[in-house]
Amino acid sequence: MNTAPLLAVDGLGKAFDGLVANRDISFIVHHGEIIGLIGPNGAGKTTLFNCLAGFHTPTTGRIAFEGHDITGSTPEAAAALGIARTFQIVRVFQSMTALENVMVGAMLRNKRVAEARERAEDELAFVGLSHRADTPASDLTVSEQKRLEVARALATEPKLILLDEVMAGLNPTEVREASALVHRIHQRGIASIIVEHVMEGIMPIAHRMLVLDYGAKIADGTPAEIAENPAVIAAYLGE
């Protein structure tokens, strides 16, 4: 049995030329955990995601996934290890149907088209998009495209999924559905880190919250602890 945490980030920093987007961030994610990642605009949340998923090489620090150092690995290597992600601005494959989009994800583990299709059908059902399977992805609503990205990421059979603002722009009913979806992902044993501005969507389901401000971690705790944390309140409301 692997005793190492699923993800261990240690002293991670990322600078673009002079601009420091992440500084000295350390945290741990356990198997199956739901982590909320919040912070004001420009706090470095998406940069952190990009470092974890292999899209950026950190300037300093280390990232370990199940005990293996993955600092500076490529996105495709990260995906193969079990880190999946969605994009803040949706990036569905426009020329494909919804089902085909998810098939591309499923092909990471199974190159046989027919089996990838079956797997993709299951994942579409999981996010509630079965009825849209043969619809061109470009014809889906933004909210559907976001769920499609989740299905596509899940089809890669990840151990950790990085969800970048999947609840943004949703109405209250849709936010509740999205929260329920994250909870069902957790029930499958998949850990998730969720960047979210929609507090009513993330606070009830997160096991732990990380708060970033100006690129640094200013708080790490349960949603209840975070809500009372003076540093967090200051970051959001100003002092």
């Binding site: 591309v104 470009s138 890669t156």
Partner: protein, 338 residues
């Protein structure tokens, strides 16, 4: 996307088309007209081969003449120096072109969109200059195939008919390879890379690996087309197989018909070669260069009116007909992203 009845109907359509192509020379017996049909099949074969990398994978190459020329020169040199049959020579040409594609793709695929296209032009231009200045390859003088031999062994024929069936066979092979790719995970990955490369990477798709696969397979098939050209014309020089106009023609055939779809380049070849040949008879030798004017005009027309090619145009028309059922899969647009 392909339901059972849909794909079986497609299969029947393809079989009918193939049967028609097989018996067509029985009706068209005039050598010049048979030659015209051969030119269409050659154009279609080039276009289908280009479509693998330029259409499905969305990596627009404007230097495919380099593979065409490598194919033509490899099989011809092997025939002239070793007496090797072009059947094997064409395969050797394909392998050399594939190896060349790997070597050029490695640095070129670090560039994206327009910059990749420009790099491919540069590679083809450099190659043309190198061959023009190579004594071993007879430089600008060119190479003549042996005039005193003929038959299936040397793939040289006195009549047009055998050439017709050879190029038809090569086109069928090229279409089959293309079709197999389209239906496998590789085809899905190509389209994913074309649509959203970053998202494809996040799903574990190595961009470099799959772009190289696309270019290598495309190069192999294009080179075989080049070998056929040499056999048919019995003379090659750098200007006739390495020229940039050939690169443009190859790409244009696919773009005109509709990229990213199997039948697009075939349709594109029929239209482009017909216009080209008619303009040639119309203007005669005074009209040398008219083909470039036509290419330019077509690029503008496609870009302005139908970025998804003639197939896309037909699809739009069908959708606008009363009682038409909307296509579930939209026509792909020709797009080069910076």
């Amino acid at each position: 996307m392909t339901t059972g009845t849909n794909s079986s109907r497609k299969m029947a359509g393809t079989a009918a088309l193939l049967a028609l192509a097989a018996i067509l020379p029985l009706a068209v017996t005039e050598p010049s007209q048979q030659n015209f049909l051969i030119l269409i099949l050659m154009g279609a074969q080039m276009g289908v081969a280009w479509n693998i990398v330029g259409g499905y994978a969305g990596q627009v190459s404007l230097g495919h003449a380099v593979f065409y020329g490598i194919g033509a020169y490899t099989s011809t040199m092997l025939l002239l120096t070793l007496g090797l049959t072009p059947w094997i020579g064409a395969l050797a040409g394909g392998l050399v072109a594939a190896a060349f594609a790997l070597a050029m793709g490695w640095p070129c695929f670090r560039l994206k969109g327009h910059y990749f296209a420009m790099a491919t032009i540069a590679v083809a231009e450099i190659m043309q200059i190198l061959v023009t200045n190579s004594d071993a390859l007879e430089g600008a003088v060119g190479l003549y195939l042996p005039m005193d031999q003929s038959g299936w062994g040397v793939l040289i024929f006195l009549s047009k008919l055998p050439y017709y069936y050879v190029i038809l066979g090569l086109l069928v092979l090229t279409v089959l390879v293309s079709w197999a790719i389209e239906r496998s995970h590789i085809g899905y990955y190509f389209r994913a890379i074309k649509d959203e490369p970053e998202a494809a990477r996040a799903l574990g798709v190595s961009l470099t690996r799959y772009k190289l696969i696309a270019l290598t397979v495309s190069a192999f098939l294009t080179a075989m087309g080049g070998s056929f050209y040499a056999q048919k014309e019995m003379f090659i020089d750098p200007g006739s197989v390495f020229a940039t106009t050939i690169s443009i023609k190859i790409a244009l055939i696919a773009i005109l018909g509709g990229v990213g779809r199997l039948t697009g380049p075939v349709l594109g070849a029929v239209i482009l070669i017909t216009i080209e040949e008619y303009s040639r008879t119309l203007f005669g030798s005074t009209g040398s260069g008219t083909d470039m004017i036509i290419y330019a005009a077509m690029i503008i027309l496609v870009a302005v009116f139908s970025p998804s090619g003639v197939l896309g145009l037909l699809g739009d028309l069908r959708r606008h007909l009363p009682g038409a059922k909307p296509d579930t899969v939209k026509a792909e647009k020709m797009e080069i992203r910076p």
